[in-house]
Each structure stands twice: as structure tokens, then as C-alpha cells.
């Protein structure tokens, strides 16, 4: 009986502590302390010394006292685990604005920064995209090229930290980290100050400017990358913001801090979210461009060939929901090959394919292409996803059908769509995307040189070839036929993603061009830009043409 009570108390105490620790920041400190107090009482019961009947009063009560103290020591240990491990990163990031507008934050953030030693960011031709101007205390960071504002991100150690490359390569730019672990350790032990490294990007400023110009006032994103290496040539995001105005450091005057603060509040209040770096962090409905994935899945699993015939009578009922076909060029025809269905983007056919594949295979292929994980790209990326997470694809057949032609609950990043195109254009292999070609130390020595590597191989070579045929067909006689460029092999797929709420659909284009030596892949989204062939496709075409221009 007594033993049972002890076990129960132990279980109760451990579950209170375990639950409280895993609840993290959802629990207030007050609630946590209450749970800890309960756990403490339970522990005292569980550990209460037994068999002390024949002990002297003094010895018995001393053992009991020691037990109580032991429990308090145990509670302090648990609290230490919470403070030093579980809540650690939350505490370190915690900041607050004081009554006088002072920023209360971890002073260690600022202490480690030596802004004057911070490295520069350069494009592939050595054009400066971000650099530190000035020496010692009077220094600021300059971003001379508006076209890359979103990519470089801002740097504001005294107030808002950093974003973009400034954030993802913070340790290297600040010189806190050496790629050679031995050197890194020695520097650490000897507390040596280091100049930051310069980053040489794979990005071509001219292409980046072109993308920025082509987007113009429209919101959206352009991705252009080398399918054979994974090197990004352009990652454009619109609208932008001016990182020059957010710079602050330890030596900033109150006035400078106030100005940066005012600008910050202005941009975070805007509806069009300029701080979201759309190529990597923007989540959109993919529309018909997602058919690339559905077609890849059905081809790779051997269920169809490009010539397999599908029936499209203009409408398809799935569990009470009717999918209306609006894309057939000839409404009297009901039988279409897979290639034609892809070129003409027939929703009914792809809904059928989706149902044929089933939720499981569709999910499997999405995962193979990298859905559900943040692709490694040199900047912060977010994972693309098939469903919102609250529902599962297998929950409903209508959702499977909708997803297969690119609607449903799908949310993808432009980068993910470019990677999908890259798998097709690069014979089934997705090269790991990268942005930093090399890092150079203050003496001009290259400390790290990127080397292309395979990230994923979602489909086999035959499937990739068949998919290239589909993409070529789409760009020859299908809805992407406007993408043709003289002297290049161009394949592509447009998308018109319905966003609901009466707003114009998002305009998508994913395509690739090859001159026999290099294969470049592009993904373009123009938010609320209308049909894919109208807004996004011309931008993609221009990007490919310019990239291959001699």
C-alpha cells in the first residue's frame, strides 16, 4: 500500500515536472512554480524515510529533515534545467522596450559585435552589395544596391538583429566562426578578435536588377538558378525595404535609434509584408505549376507514360464536389494524352491522376521533392506543404483531387517550385541550392569554396526525360508557348492559382532553358497578376533570355 503510494507520488511528481518543462513558454512562471511546489510535496511523500520506528527521535527527524532538503535541492536542479536549457533560447532572444524607449535585451548580443570588422557581401562579379563604411566607433553599413535589399537583409545589432544573408551568415560575416574547426577552437581559446569574412555570392547583380525591374510595382518573387550546380543567379523579392535605414549599433545615438525604430514600425505595419523574403519565405498556392509534381509521380511510379490516354468530359464529380474544366482548347474532344493534358493544363485529368495515385503516393512524391523540410539555400527558408497540417491528405478524396492540380490546401515557396523544375531539367537530381560561392578572409585568402552536391534524387532519369517532353510540349503548343527563346531549348509550365476572396489569381511560371552546356531554371510568381501566361511567363522568359545572352 505504502509502496504503491510512493510510486504514484513519484509518477505524479515526474509528470508534473515533465509536462511543465515541455509546455515551455505556454506556461507562465507562476504556473510553473505552482506545478513545482506540487511536485515537491509529492517527492517528499515518495522519498519519506521508512523503517525509522526504532531510531531515536533525533535520528528519525534528522533523516526526515535531510529528505526535505534533498527535495529542495532536486527542485533547484529542475529549475536550473528549465532556466539553462529548456527556456534558454527564449530568454536569450527576449527583448522588451522600456518606458523611455530603451531596448532591454541580452547585452551579450551587442558585446560580441565589432561592426567595423564585419565582412562585405559581393555579387559574382565582385560588385559590392553590402559593406561596412568607416572605422572604429563611427561606422555604418551601406547597402548600395536596392535590387538585392531583401537578399542581403538588414543588420541592426542594437535593435532588430539581422535578416537575410546578414542573419544566416552572421557568424562568418562577424568573424565569430572559422570554417576550420581547429582554428576556430584556437581563436576561441585565445579570445582572438577576427575580421569577418567577405561573401562572394553566386548572384549576378545585373540579373537581379532585371528581375527587380520586371517585377516593378507588382508584388512577387523571381528565382533563377543553375539546375546543374544549384547556384542561385537571382533571388528577387518585391516589395522591398531599405536596410540602410535599419542599421544601428552600440554607438548609435538616441536619435539614430529613434529613426530606425520609426522606419521599422512603418514597415511592419504595412499589409504587403516587405520583410518577408518571398523567394524563400513566401508561401503561395502553386496552381497548375504543381502538375509538374503530379505528372512526375505518375510517370515515375510506372502508372502512365506520356502517351497514356485520359478522359476529360468537361467536368468531374468527386464525392459530391464538381470540378469544372475550363482549360480544354477543343471542347468537343474528350480523350487526351498525358502530354496534351499537361500542355493544356487539364484540371479534370490531373484530378483523375491524383485519385489514381492516392493520398499516400502523392504525399510520398511531395516529400521526395523536399516538401515538409526547409531547403538548405544559404538564407532562411520555410518548408512547402501539401496540407495546412490540421487536415491530412488521406482525409478526403476531394482534397486529393484538388491538390493534384495545384489547389487544395497547398502552400509552396517559389524556391521549392524552382527546385521541382530543376529536378526535371537536371535528369532527376536536385542539386543543393547555394548562394555563397566562396568566403574570403581579410587577407584575401579563400577560406571556403562551395562545391556543388546533390540534395535529392526524387525521380529517375527516364521520368525526368519524359517530364522534359511534357515541359517542351507545354512551351511549344501549350499554354506556355510564349516562353520560346531562339537558340535555346525551353520547357515550362504556367500556373494560375486561385486565391479566393474575389482577388485576382496569382500568376506563376516555372521553366528552364538550356543551350546544351548550361541549364537554368526559373520560378516566377506575380501576386494577383492574373493568368500565368500573362504576368509571370514574360518575366521568366526575359530572365532566361538575359541569362543566356552573350
Amino acid at each position: 500500500m505504502r509502496r504503491l503510494l510512493r510510486v504514484l507520488c513519484m509518477i505524479g511528481a515526474l509528470s508534473a515536472i515533465g509536462y511543465g518543462l515541455s509546455a515551455g513558454s505556454e506556461w507562465s512562471d507562476r504556473r510553473w512554480l505552482q506545478a513545482l511546489a506540487v511536485a515537491g510535496l509529492l517527492l517528499i511523500i515518495a522519498w519519506w524515510p521508512a523503517g525509522t520506528r526504532y531510531f531515536s527521535t533525533f535520528n528519525r527527524s534528522t533523516m526526515r529533515l535531510a529528505t526535505i532538503l534533498l527535495v529542495v535541492f532536486a527542485l533547484i536542479s529542475v529549475q536550473l534545467v528549465r532556466v539553462q536549457i529548456v527556456q534558454s533560447s527564449r530568454t536569450l532572444d527576449r527583448q522588451q522596450i522600456g518606458p523611455g524607449g530603451q531596448v532591454v535585451q541580452n547585452p551579450r548580443n551587442r558585446l560580441e559585435e565589432h561592426p567595423e570588422l564585419r565582412g562585405s557581401i559581393l555579387d559574382r562579379n565582385g560588385v559590392v552589395l553590402a559593406e561596412q563604411i568607416g572605422d572604429g566607433e563611427d561606422t555604418y553599413r551601406s547597402y548600395p544596391q536596392p535590387a538585392v535589399y531583401g537578399l542581403t537583409g538588414y543588420y541592426s545589432p542594437a535593435l532588430y538583429g539581422a535578416s537575410g544573408l546578414e542573419a544566416s551568415y552572421d557568424a562568418e560575416l562577424a568573424g565569430r566562426k572559422d570554417p576550420n574547426p581547429v582554428v576556430d577552437w584556437l581563436d576561441d581559446v585565445l579570445n582572438r578578435d577576427r575580421s569577418g569574412y567577405d561573401l562572394n555570392l553566386t548572384v549576378d547583380l545585373e540579373l537581379q536588377q532585371l528581375a527587380d525591374d520586371l517585377l516593378g510595382d507588382q508584388d512577387g518573387a523571381v528565382v533563377l538558378m543553375d539546375a546543374g550546380t544549384g547556384a542561385s543567379l537571382s533571388l528577387a523579392s518585391s516589395p522591398g525595404y531599405d536596410p540602410n535605414r535599419l542599421y544601428t549599433d552600440n554607438e548609435s545615438t538616441e536619435e539614430q535609434l529613434a529613426e530606425a525604430g520609426a522606419y521599422w514600425r512603418e514597415i511592419i505595419a504595412r499589409d504587403d509584408a516587405p520583410l518577408v523574403f518571398r523567394p524563400a519565405e513566401g508561401l503561395y498556392v502553386p496552381g497548375s505549376t504543381f502538375k509538374m509534381l503530379t505528372a512526375s509521380a505518375v510517370l515515375n511510379s510506372g502508372m502512365s507514360t506520356t502517351e497514356t490516354m485520359y478522359r476529360d468530359e468537361g467536368a468531374l464529380e468527386v464525392d459530391g464536389r464538381v470540378i469544372i474544366e475550363l482549360n480544354r482548347p477543343d471542347e468537343s474532344r474528350v480523350d487526351w494524352t498525358l502530354e496534351e493534358s499537361f500542355a493544356y493544363s487539364l484540371n479534370v485529368v490531373f484530378a483523375r491522376i491524383g485519385l489514381e495515385l492516392g493520398a499516400e503516393l502523392l504525399q510520398e512524391y511531395a516529400d521526395r521533392f523536399g516538401f515538409g523540410e526547409a531547403p538548405p539555400a544559404g538564407v532562411i527558408t520555410v518548408p512547402s506543404r501539401l496540407t495546412s497540417g490540421e487536415t491530412e491528405l488521406s482525409d478526403s478524396r476531394t482534397l486529393v483531387a484538388d491538390t493534384a492540380f495545384g489547389q487544395g490546401e497547398l502552400l509552396v515557396t517559389p524556391l521549392q517550385m524552382a527546385l521541382l523544375g530543376a529536378a526535371i531539367a537536371n535528369d532527376g537530381e536536385i542539386m543543393e541550392p547555394y548562394l555563397v560561392d566562396s568566403m574570403v578572409d581579410a587577407d584575401g585568402e579563400v577560406v571556403e569554396q562551395a562545391s556543388p552536391s546533390v540534395w535529392k534524387k526524387p525521380i529517375n532519369e527516364q521520368t525526368a526525360e519524359a517530364m522534359q517532353e511534357l515541359m517542351l510540349a507545354s512551351a511549344t503548343y501549350g499554354y506556355a508557348s510564349g516562353a520560346q527563346i531562339e537558340g535555346l531549348t525551353v520547357g515550362g509550365k504556367t500556373g494560375t492559382a486561385e486565391v479566393g476572396g474575389g482577388a485576382a489569381p496569382h500568376s506563376w511560371f516555372v521553366g528552364y532553358g538550356s543551350d546544351g552546356e548550361r541549364t537554368l531554371v526559373t520560378a516566377v510568381i506575380v501576386e494577383n497578376g492574373g493568368p500565368g501566361s500573362v504576368a509571370a511567363l514574360p518575366i521568366g522568359r526575359e530572365m532566361l533570355a538575359a541569362a543566356f545572352a552573350p
Binding site: T57, R60, S61, R64, A66, Q79, V83, R94
Partner: protein
């Protein structure tokens, strides 16, 4: 000549000995950034360990047969404290001349403390005289507190210090021992009476007349302490008193009554004193006023969080951001630089020390030695828990030192005296 070499003690001293010297070397090399060092740069740790080893040999030479565990634990904690203070020296020196040469001063206190410990262990053969003059200690303790209250030096709003010639003494460090000596003597004499009951008509009452001296003694010291604005010490006195009465009587009802009256006291204090409200608020939510009232606590949270599991390494953190880091918040500095492993190690050392102390009490043959050992151990235990609980925000923070680790002469001397007395009691052959 050496009858029984204290081999266990000697072995246990090796680890803190090596750790403190290597640790100091790390601090030196890390702060200068080059590997050239000199013996002079680490002389403080060597000087400390030299004295420690000499005293251990002296114990062997004088055929002292007592406990061999608590001395190494004490040394390990003191060595860690010395290390942390040397590591904090640069940021403390910037605070003003009052903080100059803190490591050297700490070394001096440690030497004197070690001397005191050795003196008690080797030369004080019998403790019965302590028992005999129990009321002298009680009255003396109260007198000392009143004197401090009237003539003391005020530091940060609390008058806890007494200037005697070139020294300033924190008198509560002396009174805490004097009170325990008095209580131990009193309880030893009236052991049977205190656990008995006292019949008044149909009621079984506690032996109120026999508890009176204790209660009066305690109430007076508590009042003085509260008047001095030293809540940590008040809590310590109260906790030690409760634990000793419980050990003597074995009655949880006494503890319950004590805790209940304490709860009432807290409620009254909360309503009457704004500084108590402030402490409670800082305990529950230091972020309400992170720049002023909660500043110290918020900085300590940042420091502990930046430590993580392994810590940032000695001399690689920035514990200097925490005000009073060398005394009240030394544990946060350990948390930042030595991580969770370091804080756990410190907790384990204190836990071992406390358990060992109670073991000595349980093994002691005479009642006075038993109660004295128990009371002295409770001082260490409760003081440790009060300051650690406050640092990690388990309870409201009350300024009190972490035994052996925090900087400060009075606290070091009194705690070394406690260890000396415990070791003395642990010697089975020579207990009075």
C-alpha cells in the same frame, strides 16, 4: 611518526587542487590571448592549495581521526569561489577602488579561515565550555546585533556592518553561530522536556515554559534582523530554529505552527513594507521593471541562459553585467561560464556537505555535540538553499552569501569555523 595518514582526504584534495590551478591558467590565457604564462600569474591558487595541503598534513601529524570528506568539499567550493572572483576581477575593478585586489583579499580571508579551522580542530579539545556559557552566547549575540543596529555602517540601505579598526564585520555571521550554540546547549539540556507534553486540565499542550527561552531568543533576533532590513538572514535564523526544534522534538506540529506564523509574518510584511512587495514582484515577474527593480534578476536570467549545458567556458562569458555578481549572484556567474554541469556540480557538493554534516550529528555520542552539528549543518544547508533558490527564481531573492563561494571575509570566516566545529565533533576519540 604519522600515525594514520589521512589518505582519503588527501586524494579528495587532488581534484580541486588541480582544477583550481588549471582553471586559473585558463582564465589568464583566455584574457590575454597568448600562451605565455608565468608562475606568478597563478600564484593565488597555488598559495591557497599550498595552505590546504599543509593543513591536511597537519591533521595527519596531530593524529586527528575525524571526518575526511567535508574538508575536501569545503576546499572545492572555496577554490571555485576564488577562481570565480579572479575571473570577475577585471569587471569588478572597473566599479571602483572598493573592489580593488579582491582576489588577494579573498585569499587572505581563506588563509585566516583555514587557520581558524585548523585551530579549532587541533587545539580545541573539548567543546563543553561552549555549552556551559550558553546564555553568554545568547546575550552576546543579541548585544552584538543591537550594537550593529546603532553604530553600524550602512551599505545599500541596510545596516549590517560593524567597523572595528580597519575591518568591517558582518555581525550576523557571528550571531548565527552563537545562536546555534545557545540552542544546541539548551536543547541538549532539556531534550526530554521539549518532546514531552504538558497537561493543562483536559488539554495536552506543548511544554510552553520550556519553549519560552527559545521563542523569546528567536523573536528578538528576528525583530532585530527585520529592523536591519536583512530578510535573508531573518529567513536563515528562522529556518535553523525550526529545524533544530524539529530535530529535538520530532514533532511536525511545531514545524506546522512555525510555518503558519511565518506565513502570517510574510503577509503582514507584504502589506506593510514596499520593499517586500518589490521582492515578490521581482520573483514572479522581473520583466515588469527590467531596467530598475528587476534589472539584476533579468541580467542573471540572461547569464544563466547563455550558459546552456556546458557553459561558455571560464573567462568566456560576460557575468560582469550582473550587479553584485561576486556576492549575491555568484551562482549565476557559475551558470554562465560552467553551464548546467557546473551548477549541478556545485549543488552536489553542497548536498554532500549537508548530508555529511547530518551524519556527523547522528554519530555524535553526546547530545550537545549532536545538536551543535545538526544546527551548524542546517545553517549551511538553509543559507545555500535561500540564496540558490533566489538566484534561480524559485523563491524571492534575499541578499545572503553563498557559503564558501561568494566573496566576503565575515561569511568565509564563520563558515570555516562551522566546518572546523563539525570536524571537531566528528572525531570520535575526543568529543567532550
Amino acid at each position: 611518526m604519522i600515525g594514520r595518514f589521512r589518505f582519503t582526504e588527501f586524494q579528495l584534495l587532488l581534484v580541486p587542487g588541480i582544477a583550481t590551478i588549471v582553471g586559473l591558467l585558463t582564465i589568464y590565457v583566455a584574457s590575454t590571448g597568448n600562451l605565455n604564462w608565468d608562475w606568478q600569474d597563478i600564484w593565488i591558487s597555488i598559495a591557497f592549495m599550498g595552505a590546504v595541503v599543509a593543513i591536511s598534513f597537519l591533521f595527519s601529524l596531530t593524529k586527528f581521526g575525524g571526518d575526511q570528506i567535508i574538508f575536501p568539499i569545503t576546499v572545492a567550493l572555496s577554490a571555485l569561489g576564488l577562481l570565480i572572483i579572479q575571473r570577475l576581477e577585471p569587471s569588478l575593478a572597473a566599479l571602483g577602488p572598493g573592489y580593488a585586489q579582491l582576489p588577494e583579499r579573498q585569499l587572505l580571508y581563506l588563509w585566516v579561515g583555514l587557520g581558524l579551522l585548523a585551530f579549532v580542530v587541533i587545539f580545541i579539545r573539548r567543546l563543553s565550555w561552549l555549552r556551559r556559557y550558553k546564555y553568554t552566547w545568547a546575550v552576546g549575540a543579541i548585544f552584538l546585533m543591537v550594537v550593529t543596529m546603532v553604530f553600524g555602517t550602512e551599505v545599500k540601505g541596510a545596516r549590517l556592518w560593524l567597523s572595528v579598526g580597519p575591518f568591517t564585520i558582518q555581525t550576523s555571521e557571528i550571531t548565527k553561530i552563537a545562536l546555534v550554540v545557545f540552542l544546541a546547549a539548551y536543547l541538549a539540556e532539556n531534550e526530554d522536556l521539549i518532546s514531552s507534553t504538558y497537561r493543562l486540565g483536559p488539554f495536552n499542550l506543548p511544554p510552553i515554559p520550556y519553549l519560552m527561552p527559545i521563542v523569546i531568543m528567536w523573536a528578538f533576533s528576528l525583530l532585530v534582523v527585520v529592523a536591519q532590513n536583512d530578510l535573508g538572514t531573518a529567513l536563515l535564523f528562522f529556518g535553523v530554529l525550526l529545524s533544530m526544534i524539529y530535530q529535538a522534538s520530532g514533532k511536525l506540529s511545531y514545524v506546522a505552527v512555525g510555518l503558519f506564523s511565518f506565513a502570517i509574518g510574510v503577509v503582514i510584511a507584504y502589506e506593510r513594507f514596499s520593499r517586500v512587495q518589490l521582492r515578490i514582484q521581482n520573483w514572479l515577474d522581473p520583466w515588469r521593471d527590467p531596467l530598475d527593480a528587476g534589472f539584476q534578476q533579468v541580467q542573471s536570467e540572461y547569464a544563466m541562459a547563455s550558459g546552456g549545458l556546458f557553459g561558455r567556458g571560464l573567462a568566456f562569458g560576460s557575468p560582469g553585467f550582473i550587479p553584485e555578481v561576486h556576492s549575491d549572484y555568484v551562482f549565476a556567474a557559475i551558470g554562465e561560464e560552467l553551464g548546467l554541469l557546473g551548477t549541478f556540480a556545485v549543488l552536489m557538493l553542497f548536498l554532500l556537505l549537508v548530508f555529511r554534516g547530518y551524519l556527523i550529528a547522528m554519530r555524535a555520542k553526546d547530545p550537545f555535540g549532536r545538536y551543535l552539528a545538526a544546527g551548524l549543518t542546517s545553517i549551511l544547508a538553509i543559507q545555500t538553499l535561500i540564496i540558490l533558490g533566489g538566484t534561480v527564481r524559485l523563491i524571492p531573492l534575499t541578499g545572503i552569501t553563498l557559503p564558501f563561494v561568494s566573496a566576503g571575509g565575515s561569511s568565509l570566516l564563520s563558515n570555516f569555523l562551522i566546518i572546523g566545529l563539525l570536524m571537531r565533533i566528528s572525531d570520535p576519540d575526543r568529543v567532550s
